[in-house]
C-alpha cells in the first residue's frame, strides 16, 4: 500500500503548487490602470486577434505618451494583461473569470469575434466589470440586457443590408435575386439576419441560402449553384478565411455575378493577397481610413493608417481601428467619472458621446454604438494591377463610384 503514499505526496505537492501560484495584480497599481483582455492569438481567429491586439497596443502607447489618463488630479498610464483564448469560447469565459478573480482586473477590453464576446459578457456582467469591446457585433449581445457591455461598433445585422438596398436601387427599384452563404458562427449568422430583413423590406428573393462550416476552406458547392442559378447578388460572410476562400474559388471557377458583397475584405488583405482577382468585391466595413472623423490622439484616419503602417507594417483593417477606439472611450470615461469606482465608470461609459478618428461613439441602452454608420468599399485595381479599397457608400464619404455590374470573367 505504498501507492497511497505516492498519491498523498502528490496531493500535497498540488496544494503547495496551487497556493504559491496565486498572482496578485490589482486594477490600479501605482500609476497604472490595468485592463484585462482575452485575445485570439492562436486558432481560427488568430489573424484578427492580432489585428485587435495591435489596435489596443497602438492606442495604449499613444495615450500613455500623450499624457496618460488624468483621474483625481493624478496621471495614470494604461497597461493591458493579455491571455490567449485560442479562438475558443470555453477558454475565453475561463480567462475572463481568471482575469477578474485571480488577476484582480476591474476593467476589461473585449476579445475578437461575437462568439467569444458572448461567452465573456455573462462573466463581466456577473462581477460588474465594465467592458468596452470593439469586435463583437452580434445583435443578440445587445438584447440580453447587459449593463456593463459597451461596443464601439455597429451591430452585425447592419453590415450588408446596405448592399442589398444598393442592388435594388441599381436594378431600378425592382427586387433582386440573392444568393447567400454564411459561416455557422454568431457573427456571420447575424449578418445573414440583416440580409433577410433587407430582402423582406425590398421584396427580394433569396434563391440560395447556404450555411458553411467554420474554418471555411471550400465553398465550391455553393458556387456551382451560383453559376447555375445566376443571382443578382452573391453575399458571403465567414471572417478572414471565408473572404479569402470565396475570392480564390470565384476566380478559379470563373463565377460571374453582377454584385459580390462580403465582410472582412480588409482584415484578409484581399487586395494584396489576391490582387486583381479580388477586384470589384464590395465589402462592409466599420471604418475606412478616408473617413473624415477626427480626434486629438490619432488626428484622423489617414494619419492613423500611416502611423499604424509604420509600427506594424501593414494597412490597418477596421478591426484594429475600432480596437484603438475602445481605449479612447475608456480614457474619456475614466476622466469624466474622475474615479476608479466600477459603477461610476460604467455610468460614465453609458453617457459617452464623443468623436474619435474611427467615428462618433454614443451607446444605446443595449450597449451598441448607434452613432456610426457602416461603410461599403469596393476593391478597385488600376491597369498596373495594384489594388485599393475605395469607399463607395454612403455617398457622403464616397471617393469612387460603384462599379456595377461586375464585368464577366471572359471580358476582364
Amino acid at each position: 500500500m505504498r501507492l497511497n503514499k505516492i498519491i498523498l505526496s502528490f496531493v500535497s505537492a498540488l496544494v503547495i503548487l496551487l497556493s504559491t501560484s496565486v498572482a496578485s495584480f490589482a486594477k490600479v497599481v501605482g500609476d497604472k490602470i490595468i485592463l484585462g483582455a482575452a485575445i485570439s492569438l492562436t486558432g481560427k481567429y488568430s489573424s484578427n486577434g492580432v489585428h485587435t491586439q495591435n489596435g489596443y497596443n497602438m492606442a495604449v502607447d499613444r495615450i500613455n505618451s500623450m499624457g496618460g489618463v488624468k483621474v483625481g488630479g493624478k496621471t495614470y498610464k494604461f497597461d493591458i494583461i493579455y491571455y490567449d483564448d485560442e479562438s475558443n469560447p470555453k477558454r475565453a469565459a475561463q480567462l475572463a473569470e481568471r482575469l477578474i478573480s485571480q488577476d484582480g482586473v476591474e476593467f476589461m477590453l473585449g476579445p475578437y469575434s461575437s462568439g467569444l464576446t458572448k461567452a465573456i459578457a455573462p462573466v463581466t456582467e456577473k462581477y460588474g466589470v465594465p467592458m468596452v469591446e470593439a469586435n463583437g457585433a452580434s445583435r443578440s449581445l445587445f438584447t440580453k440586457g447587459y449593463k456593463y457591455l459597451f461596443a464601439v461598433l455597429a451591430p452585425a445585422n447592419l453590415y450588408l443590408d446596405v448592399a442589398i438596398e444598393t442592388a435594388v436601387e441599381l436594378n431600378g427599384g425592382k427586387p433582386v435575386r440573392i444568393a447567400q452563404a454564411f459561416e455557422q458562427d454568431a457573427f456571420s449568422q447575424d449578418v445573414r439576419l440583416g440580409i433577410l430583413d433587407a430582402a423582406e423590406r425590398t421584396g427580394s428573393k433569396i434563391i440560395i441560402d447556404d450555411k458553411l462550416p467554420k474554418e471555411l476552406n471550400d465553398m465550391a458547392a455553393t458556387l456551382v449553384k451560383v453559376k447555375q442559378m445566376k443571382p443578382d447578388v452573391l453575399v458571403v460572410s465567414g471572417h478572414t478565411k471565408g473572404a479569402l476562400t470565396a475570392i480564390r474559388q470565384i476566380a478559379e471557377m470563373k463565377v460571374d455575378v453582377p454584385m459580390l458583397a462580403m465582410t472582412h475584405c480588409d482584415a484578409a488583405k484581399l487586395s494584396k493577397q489576391h490582387g486583381k482577382n479580388s477586384q470589384y468585391a464590395l465589402c462592409a466595413s466599420q471604418w475606412h481610413k478616408s473617413l473624415t472623423y477626427k480626434d486629438d490622439f490619432f488626428k484622423d484616419g489617414m494619419t492613423y493608417a500611416a502611423d499604424f503602417e509604420k509600427e506594424f507594417g501593414y494597412d490597418p483593417p477596421y478591426q484594429s481601428a475600432e480596437s484603438s477606439a475602445a481605449l479612447l472611450v475608456f480614457k474619456d470615461a475614466f476622466e469624466r467619472a474622475n474615479s476608479f469606482d466600477q459603477k461610476k465608470v460604467r455610468d460614465a461609459l453609458a453617457a459617452t458621446n464623443m468623436q474619435t478618428f474611427y467615428g462618433n461613439i454614443k451607446f444605446a441602452p443595449g450597449g451598441q454604438n448607434v452613432d456610426k454608420p457602416m461603410v461599403l468599399f469596393q476593391v478597385m485595381c488600376d491597369a498596373s494591377g495594384s489594388c485599393e479599397n475605395k469607399v463607395v457608400a454612403p455617398l457622403k464619404w464616397a471617393s469612387a463610384k460603384l462599379i456595377h455590374p461586375i464585368p464577366k470573367w471572359s471580358e476582364r
Binding site: R2, N4, L8, Y82, E97, A119, K126, S140, Q189, K211
Partner: protein
C-alpha cells in the same frame, strides 16, 4: 484498508475545502473535476476494454445541449430564447434556475446513456482502428448537425441561463464547484465499485483477446455496450455541468469539441496510465496544471509546449505515469519480484 480510508478521507476533505482555500481558482478546480470525470470514464473503454473511443465527446456535448435546453424549456419558450438576435430576455428566478438545472442534469445523463446503447449496438462490432475512426466521425458529425439546428441556437450558439442573483458573487463558483466535485465523487465510487467486480475482468478479457473471451462464453457485445453506457452517463452529466459553467454553448468549439476535449480525455488517461483506477485522475490533474501553466507563462506557445509534452509522454511514459511507477517500484503495487529472475533478465538484455 485503514490506510485507504485515511487517503480517501484526506482527498475528500481537501476537495470540500479547496474552494475556500483557493477561492480564486474555483473555476479551474471545477474544470479539473470535469476533466477527471472524462478521463476516468474514457478509461473504461480505452484502458480497460481496449477500445479507443474518440466518440465520448458526443455524450458530453449532448449532455450540454440537453441540460441547457431543459433548463430553459421548462419555464420559457426555448425557440424564443435561442432565436438569433432574440429581442426577448427571460430571467430565471433562483428556484427556477436550480429546478431546471436538476431536471436538466438528469436528462443530460439519461439520454446520452440511451444514445450510447443504440449507437453502441450498431458500431461496437467494429474493432481496433475501425472503431476509433468511426467514433471520431460521430463527434464531428454531431458538431456539424447541431450547428444547423435552429432551436438550440445553430451557429449563433446557445447562451445558458445566467446564474441567479442569490446574494454573494462567490455563489456561482461554489455551486458549480460542488456540483462538479460531487459528480467526480459519484463517478469515482461507481467506477471503483465496477472495477472490483467480474465486469472489469470481462472488459480486460475483451481487451486481451476478444475472440477467446467469446469462445469462453462471454457475451462480449453486451458488456461492451454496458461499458459504453456507463461512460455516456457520466460524460453527459459532466457536459451538463460544463455548459452551465461556461455559460455559452457553441456547437463545435464548446459542446462537440472533439479537437480539444475529445483528444484531451484520451491524452489525460494515457498520461496517467490507462487501465488503472488512479491513472486518469493523476493524468488529468497533471495535465490541467501543465496546461494552465503554459497558458500563463508561454503565451502563444502553449500548444507547442503541449505538443512537446505529448511527445515526451509517448516516448518516455508509454504506459503512463502509473505504468512507469509500477515498472520502477513493482513491490509498492503489491507485486512480488523474484530478485534472481529480474537480474537474470537484465543480464539477458
Amino acid at each position: 484498508m485503514n490506510k485507504n480510508f485515511i487517503l480517501y478521507a484526506a482527498i475528500l476533505i481537501f476537495g470540500l475545502a479547496a474552494p475556500f482555500i483557493f477561492p480564486a481558482f474555483k473555476v479551474q478546480l471545477s474544470i479539473l473535476c470535469v476533466l477527471i470525470v472524462l478521463a476516468t470514464t474514457w478509461n473504461i473503454q480505452g484502458g480497460e476494454m481496449g477500445y479507443n473511443s474518440f466518440g465520448n465527446i458526443l455524450f458530453y456535448g449532448l449532455g450540454m445541449y440537453l441540460c441547457a435546453s431543459v433548463q430553459v424549456g421548462m419555464f420559457f419558450p426555448l425557440a424564443e430564447w435561442t432565436e438569433s438576435g432574440g429581442e426577448k430576455t427571460f430571467v430565471h428566478t433562483p428556484p427556477q434556475f436550480f429546478q431546471g438545472m436538476a431536471v436538466g442534469l438528469v436528462v443530460a445523463a439519461v439520454v446520452p446513456t440511451i444514445v450510447a446503447g443504440l449507437i453502441g449496438y450498431s458500431i461496437l462490432g467494429l474493432r481496433g482502428h475501425y472503431f476509433a475512426i468511426c467514433t471520431l466521425g460521430l463527434g464531428v458529425a454531431a458538431g456539424e448537425i447541431s450547428g444547423g439546428i435552429e432551436i438550440i441556437g445553430a451557429g449563433q450558439g446557445f447562451t445558458t441561463p445566467p446564474f441567479p442573483n442569490v446574494g454573494s458573487l462567490e455563489a456561482r463558483g461554489e455551486f458549480f464547484y460542488f456540483l462538479s466535485f460531487f459528480t467526480l465523487v459519484l463517478t469515482f465510487i461507481a467506477v471503483r465499485s465496477i472495477y472490483s467486480t467480474r465486469f472489469k475482468l470481462i472488459l480486460n478479457a475483451i481487451r486481451d483477446n476478444e475472440d477467446k473471451a467469446e469462445a469462453m462464453g462471454i457475451e462480449t457485445m453486451k458488456y461492451k455496450i454496458i461499458g459504453w453506457m456507463i461512460s455516456a452517463f457520466f460524460c453527459g452529466l459532466a457536459g451538463g455541468i460544463m455548459g452551465g459553467l461556461v455559460g455559452y454553448i457553441d456547437s463545435t468549439d464548446v459542446a462537440f469539441d472533439g479537437r480539444e476535449m475529445g483528444v484531451f480525455m484520451v491524452l489525460m488517461a494515457i498520461l496517467g496510465g490507462k487501465g488503472t483506477l488512479w491513472g486518469p485522475i493523476i493524468g488529468a490533474t497533471i495535465f490541467h496544471i501543465f496546461k494552465e501553466g503554459f497558458w500563463t507563462f508561454f503565451l502563444g506557445w502553449q500548444y507547442v509546449a503541449l505538443g512537446v509534452l505529448i511527445v515526451v509522454i509517448v516516448i518516455y511514459f508509454p504506459e503512463g505515469i502509473m505504468g512507469w511507477l509500477r515498472e520502477k517500484y513493482p513491490e509498492r503495487f503489491g507485486e512480488v519480484v523474484d530478485e534472481k529472475d529480474r537480474k537474470a533478465q537484465v543480464e539477458l538484455k
